[in-house]
């Protein structure tokens, strides 16, 4: 409990991280309760001729796009896609990475070498091209395929970091003492390894969310991620790029949402890192 409070004090000292954390929370709530938060149906096209490309106004706070759809509502629903894909893929990637890292760190040197050299090979593959290839071949892939592809190409770094930590912890005297007491491997992992790995894993997952949101938006922009008419920040920017000068808000609004969200996740991750590090005395 005391450790928790001290961690909170360290986190609070990072003002930007606190603001970022609040923003992340607001975004998450807005995404979760999108039907209540959004002023209109994101797919409704009230009058594609008369109401298209309306500038921001009281009726449409962020204007309308070329099909007369409310941009703000589409951003709110798009947040569901971005945060959903980001969180799901980051969680999956970090879980796989942590499990592989733990296995490599605790296994025999032969198994460890096999796992880590495979990771080296995997890290040399160009991630984005790999994902593009699969999505180009699998037309209209459902969102879970996007999540799976991003996660399965995104765990390598985490596994390396976790393995390195496990190797160090394994030799530490308190782990040796636990082994001498007769603790089995599951007990060692649960009582002694995971509490020390958790901060790294959590920070790594948070920072991953930002990167994955960016990656998913890129895929959707290219028309390979979330397919229209379902709103995603990536395909909204794609939609708006033809009227960049006549109706700049259509592309700028989701672009800004994307920028702010990614920066928020990165700042939040940095703040968490500081909170978990007792040596951080800011």
């Amino acid at each position: 409990m005391r450790a928790l409070r001290r961690g909170w004090l360290r986190f609070r000292a990072h003002r930007a991280a606190v603001a970022a954390g609040l923003l992340v929370a607001v975004l998450a709530i807005a995404a979760a309760f999108a039907p209540l938060v959004a002023p209109a149906d994101p797919l409704a096209q009230p009058d594609p001729v008369a109401l298209q490309n309306q500038p921001p106004s009281a009726a449409h706070l962020l204007g309308t796009d070329r099909f007369s759809r409310d941009v703000l509502s589409r951003i709110v629903y798009g947040a569901r896609v971005s945060l959903g894909v980001g969180a799901a893929a980051a969680l999956l990637a970090v879980t796989v990475g942590a499990l592989v890292g733990l296995a490599a760190g605790l296994a025999s040197p032969a198994v460890d070498q096999l796992l880590m050299r495979s990771v080296d090979v995997a890290l040399a593959l160009p991630r984005v091209f790999l994902i593009l290839l699969v999505l180009a071949l699998w037309e209209n892939a459902p969102p879970w395929v996007v999540v799976l592809l991003i996660a399965l190409t995104g765990w390598f770094q985490t596994s390396r970091v976790v393995r390195a930590l496990v190797l160090r912890l394994r030799e530490s005297e308190f782990v040796q003492a636990a082994r001498a007491l007769g603790s089995g491997r599951p007990g060692l992992v649960r009582r002694h390894l995971l509490p020390h790995l958790a901060p790294t894993i959590i920070v790594s997952a948070t920072l991953d969310v930002g990167n994955i949101i960016l990656l998913e938006s890129g895929l959707s922009y290219l028309g390979l991620g979330i397919r229209p008419p379902a709103p995603s920040w990536g395909n909204m920017i794609q939609d708006g790029k033809d009227q960049l000068f006549s109706a700049p808000w259509v592309a700028a609004a989701p672009g800004l949402a994307l920028l702010v969200t990614v920066v928020a996740f990165n700042l939040f991750g940095d703040g968490l890192q500081a909170a978990f590090d007792p040596r951080d005395r800011r």
């Binding site: 450790a3 308190f174 007491l181 007769g182």
Partner: protein, 332 residues
């Protein structure tokens, strides 16, 4: 620490180490193509009876810590046997090994590294109780408090984290953790080396009390001859992975037979400023355990005037010079 001397003749010793060898192989070179072998422990034999203390001295890097971990089966041995109460730990199945582990425990040197910083003292002490299903719930709480009191910590220390304590208090917590599973043998790996001198005495006294109260046996490892003399009626001196001299503390301190023991003892400060002693200064550093010298491992630094060709080529075996006093030196 005046436990009864060695075990009654006829009964077997509690711990019996025979020809223990621990080598580590590591890959070096740019692509890990060269292999080199660190000969950390190189054929060590000794025995410890019930309620007995064996002091083990030697400078850092001589293999003391590896020996301690090999005795507890925390590192794989290359060859040799470690028998605890007659049973070879290496031959046990995993479940049996875990049960046997209860009976021999370790106290580490660094009280800062030996306690999990994210675990309260209470949980650390409780771990052994839970692993071996000795107690649970309120009974476990009661046992934890009793153990903390036994080692001289307040009972409410159970709820605090290691960083809230001083080095001496942490070492007491480490001892309580080891005692929780009611061991018969405690391996103390430099248990007081990281502590202030005033605190050292307190911890040593605690260990002495515990030996009497619980009938413990100790393998007491230290680089500090003065500390070992205070604690152990029998002492073994280790150099480069081997025991070079072993004997009753009185005889060994009064008349060391091995040139290395003589040099070590000449370096112990004497509290009386009027006493002047010839200090034997050894030339050079201990050789690397990767390439131990041929013949007597001590020959490159040996100041013995009668050192000859035999010392350079033939390794001396531990031989009995007096009852219970063994020395590995051609010239002793």
């Amino acid at each position: 620490m005046d436990g009864e001397r060695s075990a009654v003749s006829g009964t077997r010793p509690l711990l019996e180490v025979a020809d223990l060898v621990v080598h580590f192989t590591r890959r070096t070179g740019l692509f890990g193509t060269r292999r080199e072998t660190v000969q950390a422990v190189n054929g060590v034999s000794f025995a410890i009876g019930r309620r007995e203390t064996l002091g083990l001295v030697g400078e850092s890097g001589c293999g003391k810590t590896t020996l301690a971990r090999a005795v507890l089966h925390l590192v794989e041995r290359t060859s040799g046997t470690v028998r605890f109460d007659g049973a070879d730990l290496a031959a046990l199945r995993p479940a049996e090994l875990r049960r046997a582990r209860r009976r021999l425990q370790i106290v580490f040197q660094d009280p800062y590294a030996s306690l999990n910083p994210r675990m309260t003292i209470g949980r650390a002490v409780r771990e052994g109780l839970e692993v071996h299903r000795l107690a649970r719930g309120a009974e476990a709480d009661r046992r934890v408090r009793a153990l903390l009191e036994e080692v001289g910590l307040p009972a409410d220390a159970a709820d605090a984290y290691p960083h809230e304590f001083s080095g001496g208090q942490r070492q007491r917590a480490g001892i309580a953790r080891a005692l929780a599973v009611e061991p018969e043998l405690l391996v103390c790996d430099e248990p007081v080396s990281a502590l202030d001198v005033s605190v050292q005495a307190q911890v040593l006294n605690l260990l002495a009390d515990l030996q009497v109260r619980r009938g413990l046996s100790y393998l007491f490892i230290s680089h500090d001859l003065a500390v070992v003399r205070h604690v152990a009626p029998r002492v073994a001196v280790m150099y480069l992975g081997r025991i070079v001299e072993e004997g009753p503390a009185d005889a060994l301190y009064a008349a060391p037979r091995h040139p290395y023991t003589q040099a070590l003892l000449s370096a112990v400060p004497v509290p009386d400023p009027t006493t002047r002693r010839a200090r034997i200064v050894l030339p050079g550093d201990p050789p690397s355990p990767v390439h131990p010298p041929a013949g007597c491992p001590f020959h490159p630094r040996c100041p013995h005037p009668a050192k000859d060709q035999t010392c350079l080529t033939v390794r001396p075996e531990l031989t009995q010079l007096a009852p219970g006093h063994r020395v590995a030196c051609h010239k002793a």
